[in-house]
Amino acid sequence: MTEPTTLGRRAGQPSGGTRMEPMVCPVRHDWSRYSLGQIAAMFQSQPPTAGPAAVNAWTAIETLCREQADRLRKALQALAVRWPTSQQAALAFQEWGKSLVQAMETTADTASWNRQVAANISEEIDRARARINALLGEWASYQRIEQSRGFLVAEATHVGIELLDGEVSLSGWRADLNRQAREVMASLEQKIYNYTSNLYADEPYNPPVGPPKDMLDLNGNDLGVAGSWGGGGFASSVGGWPGGWTPPSSVIGAGWNPLDGLPGETVLDGAGPTVSSAAPVANGPAAGGALVDTPWGRVLAPGGVIGAPGGLGTGAGTMPSGPGLTTNPATAGLPPGTGQAPRPTTSPGVVPFMPPVMPGRATSNPASTTSNRRSRPGLPSVFETPDGPPGVIQPPPEPTHHDPGPGVIGIDR
């Protein structure tokens, strides 16, 4: 198997494309949790035809753009002979056509570059697959020896080989094969990441005559192009393919959805992700709760606490005393007219003023000093002390009558 092509700066690097930067700085995966069998199962979901198909896709894009750009350029040259650019109308046509030619050539250059990236990734995956299969073969061999009651021979052979290599694994051949499989995956992980860091993307084509900036919906909406364009031309030849390409849904594995990271619109268009600020969060705080609406969506209010109960005012949940956190001075233990005037609790981005707790102030409701206190059933209140003994200990009362009983000699009163 040949070594993958090294990707560095070279002359054929796409000049009009933009290098794909990783969206985040990922961390290495912990492969120690997987066994050889589990790693081998991962390759089962990776069809061997994916690599060649990826290369074919880039080849098809490059070939198509290269050929059509060449043919369009020749057609424009032929048109210019008969319709020289000394006429303004002809000049406008030539500008339009040349911009299309240039864009196609840029796409072809980018596809040519990316095809090599796909080929390298495919080759690395194939190499890792072959290595894992070889480890599986070793595993099966050891198992056969064990089943034939010769496992001591197998262990001795294995330890003997490792002694020659300078390291001894006391956990036996299973641990060693698992370790090798993990090393294969760690290496594959790094190589795939390095190769994809060399991917390029061609910028969206916009003709020089002021078309709509977002002439195509790249949100993944299934746009049937040219099916209804009418006026002859391409309409008869188009079968309704999607305008914005998205990978097939079957490629998304269960348990994780890598497409969550895909932006809603083409990054190169400079459009940010669309966030529905008005949509309430399912099973989350209601509008006007601990979350506030911002141009970037609903965010936690300053000082807010995640999981605050819905239905409270903005900023509710920022004090442990619960509903006392309103803008009403009376409910905050203050006399009327004290503190901030009441505000609508749904004012976006507004966090109400929180007056300080002032114990001992007169209130209209004496019970209100404790009404806001959260009750905890089963626990005694720390503010209610039981009745204690009297402050002064008094002797017991003197007896008014005493009968010593018969036979007792005493003073006869």
């Binding site: 424009l76 795939i192 994809t196 040219a226």
Partner: protein, 149 residues
């Protein structure tokens, strides 16, 4: 191709409208039957291969691989989107050529056509295609039996 001499002096001092209209007709035929068909069939082929190639590095755990896979899918999405734009541009160009051939019958009329007017036609045709595309996307049934297509 119809060529009209300019008075019998033995040469062509400037192209006449008949030459222009024939050249436009040739170019129109190229856009319609060559560029359009090839772009369409080539795009179908590229999309088919891209769908199969989307499984490249799919199914492996780990953030590095998953992020790499996302990046690859994005890189694959951009040129395919651009191919749609190229087809879109060709269709707009096609429509403008048809319009010019229909509206301008004489050399004088063609010579009086300014660059701004042509650019305006191209832009209007482009925006019209875009509006039709959006309307079609809204009314398009979700099944594969698309009556429009």
């Amino acid at each position: 191709m119809a060529v009209v001499a300019d008075g019998g002096t033995g040469g062509f001092t400037f192209p006449t409208f008949q030459v222009e209209i024939s050249s436009l007709a040739d170019f129109l035929a190229f856009i319609e039957h060559d560029l359009g068909l090839n772009l369409k069939s080539g795009l179908d082929h590229a999309v088919s291969e891209a769908n199969s190639g989307a499984y490249l590095a799919a199914g492996f755990p780990g953030e590095m691989i998953i992020r790499s896979w996302e990046t690859y899918l994005l890189a694959q999405k951009y040129p395919i989107d651009n191919l749609v734009r190229y087809l879109f541009t060709g269709a707009a160009m096609l429509e403008v050529i048809e319009y010019l051939m229909k509206m301008y019958k004489t050399t004088e009329e063609m010579a009086a056509l300014t660059s701004e007017e042509v650019r305006g036609y191209l832009s209007a045709a482009y925006e019209q295609k875009y509006a039709q595309l959006q309307a079609h996307a809204v009314s398009r049934p979700t099944t594969t039996d698309d009556p429009v297509a």
